[in-house]
Amino acid sequence: MIAYLIRRLLYAVPILIGVNLLTFALFFVVNTPDDMARMQLGIKRVTPEAIRQWEQQKGYDKPLFYNRAADGMGRIADTIFWQKSASMFMLDFGYSDDGRNISREITTRMWPSLAIALPTFLIGLIFYVNFALVMTLFRATLLDRVGVALCVVLMSISSLFYIIGGQFLISKLWHLVPISGYAGGLNSFRFVVLPVVIGVVSGIGSSSRWYRTIFLEEMGKDYVRTARAKGLSEPGVLFAHVLKNAMIPILTGVVVVIPLLFMGSLLTESFFGIPGLGSYTIDAINAQDFSIVRAMVFLGSLLYIAGLMLTDISYTMADPRVRLS
């Protein structure tokens, strides 16, 4: 397995270079260094001299990919692409265009994101699986039909509606939790409750239906018939056998997103005033801050690759027959 993981890690290097190259090209197709300077310096009373100085100071006065004026390796190294990208492979994200330390921003902002995303993920997973199991348990009954209909209804509603509706009902009418905001440490609890509840509720429809489908497929298999023949109760069959055997498809969808929980959610964080990473990339795109954009895309790719590797590893744990080689 270690050889497999090393191989996967090595595969990650060209993927990350490719992602970086693509991000760089796409960003600079839309934004020129002049545009970036104007965005940072504002539109009032900005002189061409100020723009030139800003570009020089931030290193945006160099050619994008190839520096004809330089010698030797400098032709590659003395370019915007190299100078802004090479350090990232050492996880040194440098400074944003407005002078803030990006690594520090990320480490500060990922905790509030996690405070929302992790409980939403865990509680949601437990709830969805159990709800799907209950629907499976009562399959082809009124409860199952109502459950499926409820799932379809919940799936059809926009997540924005859940947020606004939840804030209106729980915070505005019932005054149970603050509408928005955040506090550090244990005080974060009352701020986190509502976004977590809304996050879980908004995911019930799609996730529970998906898990129900997986469980129903498993219910028709021989080992279930055998278990029943041995006299196991229906809940026993479901929770002890079906759930265990349905782990591979569940893990496929679940483990890959675990590392991405750090990245937060734009909509939730925006509406609830959570100072997480969710809006960091969008704000950076709007502010044309390439340093942040490349750092966040790089981090996202890295976490996604990590998620895929974790998924592979989790297969071996869920099913001893799986071998990574």
């Binding site: 100071q57 002078g99 330390n101 019932w174």
Partner: protein, 710 residues
């Protein structure tokens, strides 16, 4: 499992801090003199040399103390001393630096002598901390000593010192620092004596030693002279009365050199410990918490003792209770908590729950908050009145306009044809309707670039744009469409068709507007053009391309706006000065308008003192541009602010950004109202719990029944 239960119990206990369940603030803060407000966008810069936008000044203007400020209560806006002990003493000189009388025709230099109040102190800050030998406590720090330091408050020691005239001079030098990109460097280099050469010297020094310390004091700057500890002089070229307005901006605040040295130490920048992140000021507040992703907190500067609440104001201020705190030491609140609210819905709801002391009004909430009488007067709705909420309105010193590109062969230029075409469009586009539909009536249709409250703006018949309006029954009335059609026909486009080509007239509007919300505005604009049978094509583009088009003059019409730097007509009329042409000179005249007479009058008017002679020139300038119609004059937006009954001394002042020090809250009253409005409703929780329990029991029994039947 036990650990998990214990952890959850701890969380619940932490959540129950004895306050209201939906209170976003800690219960221990209830009853304290804290002002709660919000910000919607994180500030980019907090260095007074770099910051220039409104959202940055919302903080900076309360942290730094420049020499002057705007009187909080008096209108029209008037400058008064802040850190200065009196208004600057201005003397005029000839080219040999001989003193001239004030009315001298040729003034080569103006010398502003500024005396600052003695004994003013900076906020507490580690940069001022001294050890037992009187040496700086935190000089030459090793990076290891910065372990765990992320804010000035993390340092064990702090200190203060007296503000000196040298600090003000130092900050002016910083405006030329090429590493700081001060936005007003360009303007100041035109005026402050020797500023350009000084900036060049700094640039040369930086080129020689890019990594080294740039010693700003090592190079001569003849335009700035420190006379003694409390006096300094600024020499500017020619006469520029507007310079005094710049002295009311944070650009001209004092900057202690040791603060720069403190932040320049290795390891500081990596921890976001920079002057651009943690300001060091001598104003009424200092930034005690800086998390622009969540909240920023201003705390009363314990050493600020040089200012009192004004004892005079405008007529009606006494009756409005605005002089109740006259003579009291400022600031009147101990802390100001700014919370980041990106979305309007939570912001509005928290205001209604009493968790923000004041709020603007978004379009979504307008009908809930405001009712407009048949006479057009706005007041709060009954729902708001019951809560004790009051409304204050003011016209912003801004103008939102639609420009014609003077360089365009169809709509631009000084030909009679193009002028009549522009005039016809000016009549057809009904901005009163626009304000009513899209701004909920929050605006004043513009008659020229000059908004109300600025010298040169005239009320009544004398102030209307006679090209677009008639004066009927004591009110301006937009000319009928027949007049627009007549002008269009005279321009060579009868019924919207080009006489020469027999093709319909098509005009392009460049805009960055996109999305569903903007579509209705653009549809409305198309409809306005259709009224005179002119086709409008909207060319939506992204912000960068739009700015690029404006710079290249590759537009026909475009949306634009201007927010005043200072309340002087020069700051609006220069937007149409030929020397400011965007394409030719890279200036602020985005429509590239050029009229020799206007330019000549502008040169004459710009440095004059307000008076009848200046007013006569402005009148003539307005007459010229109204006739030339280089803009659809658009409108001046109105600010609507709602405030709770526990907030006092709120008077709209669109020029002053340092208003917070005057505001006072009654925290006890606020706590009472908050408790009345926010009692938790527990019934849904009980019902939900009961329903869940019933479901579990039902399920349990159903399973048992199923097992029995098997």
């Amino acid at each position: 499992m036990k650990r998990l239960a214990a952890y959850l119990t701890m969380l619940l206990l932490a959540a129950c801090d004895g306050g209201l369940w939906n209170n976003p603030y800690p219960a221990r803060d209830a009853g304290r003199s804290i002002l709660y407000t919000a910000f919607t966008e994180r500030p980019k810069h907090l260095d007074p040399a770099e910051a220039y936008s409104e959202n940055e000044y919302a903080f900076l203007a309360n942290i730094y103390a420049p020499p002057l400020q705007y009187h909080y209560l008096k209108r029209p806006y008037q400058l008064v001393p802040l850190a200065a002990s009196e208004m600057p003493l201005v003397t005029y000189q000839d080219s040999q630096h001989h003193v001239l009388p004030d009315y001298a025709p040729k003034i080569a230099y103006s010398v502003y002598e500024i005396h600052i109040k003695p004994g003013m102190h900076y906020q507490p800050h580690p940069a001022f901390a001294k050890d037992e030998q009187g040496r700086p406590q935190y000089d030459h720090l090793a990076p290891a000593q910065l372990q765990g330091m992320h804010a000035p408050g993390d340092f064990l020691h702090s200190g203060t010192r007296v503000v000196t005239a040298a600090d003000y001079a130092y900050q002016i030098r910083r405006l030329a620092n090429p590493l700081l990109h001060a936005p007003i460097y360009g303007v100041m280099s035109e005026y402050i004596l020797g500023f350009k050469d000084y900036a060049q010297a700094l640039q040369d020094a930086l080129k020689k030693n890019p990594e080294g310390h740039l010693d700003l004091a090592a190079y001569p700057l003849p335009g700035v002279e420190v006379v003694d500890d409390t006096t300094y002089r600024i020499t500017i070229r020619g006469k520029y009365p507007q310079f005094a307005y710049w002295l009311a901006m944070p650009f001209f605040s004092p900057m202690p050199e040791e603060a720069e040295r403190f932040y320049e130490q290795p390891g500081m920048k990596e921890r976001n410990l920079t002057l651009d992140w943690w300001p060091v000021g001598s104003g009424p507040y200092y930034l005690s918490e800086n998390n622009p992703n969540r909240r920023m907190v201003l705390t009363k500067n314990p050493y600020y003792d040089s200012e009192h609440y004004p004892s005079t104001g405008d007529a009606g201020d006494v009756e409005a209770g605005l002089l109740h705190d006259a003579g009291k030491m400022l600031p009147l609140t101990d802390r100001v908590v700014f919370t980041l609210e990106k979305e309007t819905i939570p912001y509005w709801n928290k205001f209604l729950q009493g968790y923000y002391d004041a709020s603007g009004i978004s379009s979504d909430s307008f009908d809930q908050a405001v009712q407009v009488s048949t006479g057009g007067e706005a007041s709060v709705s009954d729902e708001m009145r019951k809560k004790g909420i009051t409304l204050s309105t003011s016209v912003a010193t801004s103008t939102l306009y639609t420009g014609f590109n003077w360089l365009d062969p169809v709509v631009g230029g000084s030909s009679e044809r193009a002028r009549k075409l522009r005039q016809a469009i000016s009549i057809a586009v009904d901005f009163e309707e626009f304000i009513s539909i899209f701004a909920n009536g929050r605006g004043v249709a513009a008659q020229s670039p000059i908004p109300p409250g600025i010298f040169g703006y005239r009320e009544g018949k004398a102030g209307i744009n006679p090209v677009v309006y008639d004066w009927v029954d004591g009110q301006p009335r937009r000319k009928p469409l027949s007049e627009a059609k007549r002008l269009l026909a005279e321009a060579g486009y009868p019924n919207g068709v080009d006489e020469r080509t027999h093709q319909p007239l098509v005009i392009n509007l460049d805009t960055t507007s996109s999305g569903a919300g903007e579509k209705s505005r653009l549809d409305w604009l198309r409809k306005q053009f259709n009224k005179i049978n002119v086709q409008l094509v909207v060319r939506s583009t992204d912000y960068n391309r739009f700015q690029d088009k404006i710079r290249r003059g590759d537009t026909q019409m475009f949306y634009y706006g201007w927010n005043a730097d200072y309340p002087d007509p020069e700051n609006f009329l220069f937007l149409l000065d030929g020397a400011q042409g965007k394409v030719a000179h890279g200036g602020e005249n985005a429509s590239n308008y050029s009229n020799p007479e206007y330019d000549m009058l502008f040169e004459k008017m710009k440095n004059m003192e307000n008076g009848p002679e200046r007013l006569a020139i402005i009148d003539r300038m307005l007459e010229i541009i109204r006739n030339d119609a280089p803009w659809l004059w658009g409108y001046h937006p109105k600010n609507y602010v709602l405030q709770h009954s526990w907030l006092y001394n709120v008077k709209p002042n669109v020029m002053a950004n340092n208003k917070l020090k005057y505001w006072r809250v009654d925290p006890k009253l606020r706590t009472r109202y908050q408790a009345r409005w926010n009692q938790p409703v527990l019934l849904p929780l009980w019902l939900g719990g009961a329903a869940l329990l019933a479901f579990v029991i039902w399920m349990w029994r159903a399973l048992q029944k199923r097992d029995e039947t098997r």
